[in-house]
Amino acid sequence: MTQRKAAALISGGLDSLLAAKLMLDQGIHVEGINFYTGFCVEGHTHAIRNKDKNKEKRNNALWVAEQLGIKLHIVDIIEEYKDVVINPKHGYGANLNPCLDCKGFMVRKALEWIQQHDFDFIVTGEVVGQRPMSQRKDTMPVIARESGARDLLLRPLCARILPETLPEREGWVDRNKLLDFSGRNRKPQMALANQLGFNDYAQPAGGCCFLTDANYSRKLADLWQVRGEKRYEIDDIMLLKVGRHVRPRPHFKLIIGRDDGENNFLRGYRNRFVHMHASSHRGPLVLLDAESGTVSENDLLLAARLTARFGKGRTDDEVTVSIHDLSDMVTEYKVAPLHPDELPQEWYL
């Protein structure tokens, strides 16, 4: 019998690892696909902040693939994914996470991939009832249907409580060896991991994407509101992951580095933003995010005082702040750091 081939969606978490492993154990040739949306938690934040410097910086999807001994194809879907985030047909979850549309989109991309690469079916680590939006019993068929994958989509961890799929009907995989996990309790997955000899895996609680994060979603919503439309570029969504975001006036906000790692990262954007830092004291690099021509002298003064507020001179009477415009012309302001009472909580995004 020819060996059947499956493409497994690998997120880097435990569930997709187990699902792929169950297929390998049934003699299926498995290759992994990992979609990069731009919102993936993977790596970025670890790489930026100082406090995470000592954490091992590993890409979990690659790590999972290596544990399984399978190839992994990382696919950049940043551009196409915009439509999913901006116009989710099924709406958002608790934050700006369009999980149901997202899953459908990813399975559709996987379907295109298996068609191009002559693979037989698609595997995901989904479990019925585990997530409020995309993994309810009534929404799982929506993913299979709307992605076009239909019964080419196999979810080994809960297949036994779902209708039979083509790989099962055709005898490529043995349904009896598939599982019937359901609900939010993750103990069965952990027990299975243990049994299969996996004891070091990414903790599921971390979440796989920034769109499920309330703080991140608030910053993204602010960005859209200020723009007057839901639109973003990759740099916009990267910058939302970094620094404190403070909006003292509706027409501008400041992105303030929280440590050397973030200051360094923000430095990479110096030629695209008016930016400032205290020259008389140690302190953060601050980007000023505003449409050009909208910021007044008073706004710059306020920005300088805020910059001083977050540096070592915060309790001094006077701090010198250098403001670089887009042509890197520098103007120095001698300012009194903003007093904490003058910094309302609502300014923080």
Binding site: A47, N59, E66, K71, I74, V75
Partner: protein, 77 residues
């Protein structure tokens, strides 16, 4: 031996890996690629990607600001 280079500076994980993957797909077995990154995570990720896809890391260089990964392409079976 042809040595190609890929500038992946200022890109964050997993973009250096994605760009490496795309570049390698267009190269022939036996060719060498040098990838320059500022994200130190690449020092783990690109070698892992090479191991699982059958390419060989020839050398890695880690200095404060940049990491350089030199690899040899193998398109196996």
């Amino acid at each position: 031996m042809i040595m190609e280079t890929l500038d992946a500076r200022n890109m964050l994980c997993p973009m250096p890996v994605i760009r490496t993957q795309d570049k390698v797909n267009g190269m022939a077995s036996g060719e060498m690629l040098e990838v320059v990154c500022t994200d130190h995570g690449a020092l783990n990720d690109i070698p892992t990607w090479c191991r699982i896809n059958g390419h060989t890391v020839v050398e890695t260089v880690d200095n404060d600001h940049e990491v350089i990964i030199r690899l040899e392409v193998h398109h196996g079976a």
